[in-house]
């Protein structure tokens, strides 16, 4: 009996001795035409938002880049990243209630606190515009959500304007801000999902008007191709199905396409979209991958190349799609099961693979390219 216990203990001990939890390194990368910063959302309330940095000069990927450069954490659930000018990058750190600024080398250079529950960003180089789900902006209160204007020189909020419930995506065109209102808290709050796109004059931060789309829950990023915007509607899970809205900012008229574009990007001419519809009955996800010519409203069923399209279609959970404004290269991420490290993929505009899939961190959601220094 004693002998049996001893043997079992030994076996258990040996089986448990394999405590090597080190991460397998991603395949090596050669020189790249541009560096990439990837914003990993982490898990909500776990204070584990992270930046990953792929260095064009060395081909080296550094996960947890922000904290290794600065010696402190980025915060909880970073939600967007944008380059303001040659020396300044802004990150909306949603649940930390801050906009964090960094230099292109990753060093932190200030933060703005007065936009809690911040969501997405856009900029004209002089000012930064941020949407927020909250109702407070400094001493100002709003019934619904708002958009705040931050002076890049002082990093202070200089104006704000109330819009719809839970405003999410934001884009700037000809001095006007287009804000997609989601009403994302409709599951609990007394209002319904929003169907409106608010237009705000960026100079005066006064609301010009609303475009009513009849498409509920406008959420996700907004991409711009010339005078056109691509906006996703998640639908309401029952009667209203997900849609893609193509808005002409010159006329404020829009067209609808009968598929979602949860992820969308533009090369300045076309929109590239990845959408998924989750069947409530089975929990299974059906993906929609398209290219949209906003001028003609022609819709293609391919992104980059047939191989890339097929690859995207095979991913467990595509989590961001980004087209470099410098090289036209396609980058996308896969969040996999949302609890393990996600992956980064890169392809040239001709469909050539730039590097093997790179392992990032939990929920890699936002990519930013920087020209090679």
């Amino acid at each position: 009996m004693k002998c049996g216990i001893l043997i079992l203990t030994l076996l258990l001990f040996l089986s448990a001795c394999n405590d090597d939890r080190s991460s397998e390194p991603s395949p090596a990368i050669g020189l790249l035409d541009e560096s990439l910063i990837i914003c990993n959302e982490g898990n909500w309330q776990s204070d584990n938002g992270q930046l990953s940095y792929l260095d064009a000069m060395t081909g080296e990927l550094t996960n947890k880049w922000f904290r290794s450069v600065n010696g402190f954490k980025l915060g909880d659930t970073p939600n967007d990243i944008i380059q303001i000018n040659d020396t300044l990058i802004a990150i909306s750190v949603n649940w930390s209630n801050i906009i964090q600024y960094i230099n292109p080398d990753g060093t932190a250079c200030g933060a703005t606190e007065n936009v809690p529950n911040n969501r997405r960003l856009c900029t004209d180089g002089q000012f930064l515009y941020v949407t927020s789900f909250a109702h407070i902006c400094g001493s100002q209160t709003y019934e619904k959500g708002y958009v705040a204007k931050i002076d890049v020189a002082s990093l202070r909020v200089v104006a704000s304007c109330g819009v719809g419930w839970e405003p999410d995506g934001i884009a700037l065109y000809d001095g006007r801000l287009y804000i997609a209102n989601s009403g994302g808290y409709a599951f609990s709050e007394s209002h319904d999902y929003e169907t409106s796109i608010s237009i705000v004059d960026a100079a005066t931060m006064t609301k010009i008007g609303d475009i009513m789309t009849d498409c509920p829950n406008l959420s996700g990023p907004i991409s711009r191709a010339g005078k056109f915007l691509c906006i996703n509607s998640n639908g309401n899970g029952s009667v209203a199905s997900p849609k893609t809205i193509i808005l002409n900012c010159e006329t404020d008229e829009f067209s609808l396409l009968d598929f979602p574009s949860n992820l969308n990007a533009s090369d300045g001419e076309l929109f590239y979209t990845i959408g998924s519809v989750v069947e409530n009955s089975t929990g299974e996800s059906r993906s929609h991958i398209h290219t949209i010519n906003p001028s003609t409203m022609e819709v293609g069923n391919e992104i980059c190349s047939p191989e890339v399209t097929s690859l995207i279609g095979s991913l467990e959970k595509p989590y961001d799609l980004y087209i470099s404004p410098y090289t036209g290269s396609f980058y996308f991420t896969n969040a996999r099961n949302f609890t393990s490290a996600g992956l980064l993929y890169g392809y040239s505009s001709m469909g050539e693979q730039l590097f093997e899939p790179q392992k990032l961190y939990i929920n890699p959601a936002h990519i930013l390219a920087l020209p090679r220094r």
Partner: protein
């Protein structure tokens, strides 16, 4: 024939309506039970005095850990979770402070697979399936027992077979009239008052009131942060009134609990405390239960009825809250009836039982939802004992029917277990196999956009081999176990970061060994326990997280309690060590939570009718967390003055 049954007739006829005719097994069991009920009724009519049932039990067949009344009183503990953490194989999830939710997980099977029973009746939460152990007091308990698998008595209710592990809270049964009043003052503006009155051997009344600001300090000092602060919005106030009455084989228990608490969030990077996410919760729980046992020669009968009414109010619609504004109320009712009967015939006995539970849940959130659930369980068990050998086996049939928005969905399943033991002198060798399944909770199925009405049940399988050594002053037991969970019910953000969906996803496997020992010598007693386990993710071999340790499962945990009782002086010293725990599914991407040691001490002095107790928890002020970013309070003191007649 069902309608005539005094103790079960109405319930069983209701059960039969809910049953599908195909379920012949449950029909057989119900019929068997009803026969015994009829027998019991006819016998009762001739009986005036009700004597207590002596329960035949092969107590060593399953591994059992037990803290008795004296041991519980010697612990510097506030609640049942504090006591259970000393037992082998137990992992507590504690969000910190008196108001922080405390749930228990045994052998890494998940908190929803642990059945918690007060005087043999299961505490249920049809909404989310977990029991917040912070709501239940130690002061009224005779003992706290943990069984892996389940007890091995012949008069078990069907629902007692339905959990992977079972925790029994046995109410203290007074032996004389007494009155005890106590008042405590403790760290973080904590004040407690308690009154316990006992009347002979018949009744016990216990009232408690607690209030705390809960603003304990916390610290994080790592390579990447240097954070200090105080918990805010963590105040807690509660009132509890509990009473028990006993008369022969009849026992009655009533419970009322009312609380208000702040819900502090996880500690995340903030530049200041300017903006907050403020949530508050009000709970009200009420239940009344009555149990009856009776033996008539070779036939024994046990029956239970229970009604519970729970109310939960969550609010976050405050102007200064920067997150979602909610004002949700939930009302649950639960009506439970159960009967078990057994037949003993020398070496073997047969037991049959059937439970019927009707629950409803009314969610008054943005829209009002009303859901009802009928949960019926029937079991058939056989016990065989010959010489030094014991064997038992049971089959459990569960049938669940939900009614939601004019739709009816049903689930049914068979589960089995088998237990075996062999006694050799002071040693007992034993083994068990048990399979159970967990029905998705109403939150899993129907909660707003999260719920998935197509969820399948979650399955667990357990295999255990162990041995116990008993002597006059020294007991030790050791168990090796293998667990497997299939079809885990998890939440995944399939519709975007803020829109979660419940899914059946994942499989885990756990290998482990539990060891516990008890020693008593004169004034001294010592309880030591330890768990070594290897709990791995076995979901998908293609995933990087495959074969990684399951989040929050430590490989090693140790505990010890030393108690001394010399005339008027009592003292105890307790210590816990919990090894590092990974908190991410893929272990390699984050540093684990650090291992921690926590030492508590308590000293009491009695000079009748007064006694004083002073305690210090976490005397070395070790800062640790059980849940990532939810810090536990550090060193804290408490002084209690008691007056006893």
């Amino acid at each position: 024939m069902f309608l005539d049954s005094k103790y079960y007739g109405d319930a069983s006829s209701y059960a039969m309506l809910a049953f599908d005719r195909r379920h012949l097994f449950s029909l057989l069991i119900a019929s068997l039970i009803n026969l015994s009920s009829l027998f019991a009724q006819s016998s009762l009519s001739d009986t005036i005095a009700i004597s207590e049932v002596v329960v035949r039990s092969a107590r060593d067949v399953v591994s059992q850990q037990r803290l008795t009344h004296d041991a519980l009183r010697s612990l510097p503990s506030n609640n049942i979770a504090d006591a259970l953490k000393y037992m082998a194989g137990v992992q507590i999830k504690d969000y910190g402070g008196l108001g922080g939710q405390k749930t228990v997980n045994v052998r890494s099977l998940g908190s929803q697979h642990v059945g918690v029973y007060i005087d043999g009746v299961r505490i249920t939460n049809v909404q989310n399936g977990t029991v917040d152990l912070g709501k239940y007091s130690l002061s009224t308990l005779e003992s706290v027992s943990l069984y892996n698998a389940n007890k091995n008595e012949s008069l078990m209710m069907a629902s007692e077979y339905a959990s992977a592990s079972t925790i029994y809270l046995q109410s203290h049964r007074p032996d004389s009239s007494s009155c005890q009043l106590s008042a405590s003052v403790a760290s973080f503006n904590t004040y407690k008052a308690n009154a316990t009155i006992a009347y002979k051997r018949y009744a016990l009344l216990d009232c408690a009131f607690t209030t705390t600001k809960g603003d304990y300090p916390f610290e994080y000092h790592t390579q990447y942060e240097d954070t200090t602060g105080r918990r805010s919005n963590s105040d807690f106030k509660m009132c509890r009134i509990e009473g028990s009455a006993f008369l022969g084989g009849l026992s009655f228990h009533a419970y009322y609990y009312n609380s208000e608490r702040g819900l502090p969030g996880g500690i995340v990077r903030r530049l200041s405390g300017l903006y907050t996410d403020v949530g508050r919760e009000w709970d009200r729980n009420l239940f009344a239960q009555m149990a009856f046992r009776k033996r008539f020669d070779s036939i024994a009968l046990r029956s239970i009825v229970k009604y519970s009414n729970d109310y939960l109010h969550y609010r976050s619609d405050y102007d200064n809250n920067i997150a979602v504004h909610s004002n949700n109320k939930y009302r649950q009712q639960d009506l439970y009836g159960a009967v078990a009967s057994s037949y003993d015939n020398g070496n073997w006995s047969l037991s049959a039982s059937s439970d019927l539970r009707w629950s409803d849940l009314k969610c008054m959130a943005k829209t009002t939802n009303y859901i009802t659930r009928v949960d019926s369980k029937s079991s058939l068990a056989i016990f065989y004992s010959r010489g030094l050998m014991n064997f038992s086996s049971s089959a459990l049939f569960t049938y669940v029917a939900d009614h939601h928005e004019d739709e009816k969905t049903t689930m049914s399943h068979f589960a089995y277990n088998a237990l075996f033991s062999w006694r050799i002198n002071k040693w007992t060798l034993r083994s068990f196999y048990k399979s159970v399944f967990r029905v998705p909770t109403l939150n899993d199925l129907y909660y707003n956009i999260v719920g998935n009405s197509n969820l399948k049940p979650e399955y667990t399988k357990q295999l255990d081999v162990g041995a116990t050594y008993n002597s006059a002053w020294f007991d030790v037991q050791c168990d090796f176990y293998y667990n497997r969970i299939d079809n885990r019910i998890v939440a995944l953000p399939l519709k975007g970061s803020y829109q979660w969906t419940m899914l059946n996803y994942g499989r885990t496997r756990c290998l482990g060994v539990d060891i516990s020992a008890k020693m008593n010598y004169k004034w001294h007693s010592l309880f030591i326990s330890g768990t070594f386990q290897d709990d791995r993710n076995k979901t998908n071999p293609k995933e990087d997280a495959y074969n990684d340790y399951v989040a929050y499962s430590p490989r090693l945990s140790l505990s010890a309690i030393y108690s001394l009782q010399v005339r008027r002086l009592t003292a105890s010293l307790s210590h816990i060590f919990v090894d590092k725990r990974y908190w991410t599914t893929e272990n390699a991407i984050e540093e684990p939570l650090e291992a921690y040691n926590c030492t508590d001490v308590k000293v009491g002095f009695s000079l009748h009718p007064l006694s004083v107790e002073v305690e210090c928890q976490d005397i070395f002020d070790v800062r640790y967390e059980m849940i990532q970013r939810w810090p536990m309070p550090g060193r804290r003191f408490s002084a209690t003055l008691k007056f006893e007649l």
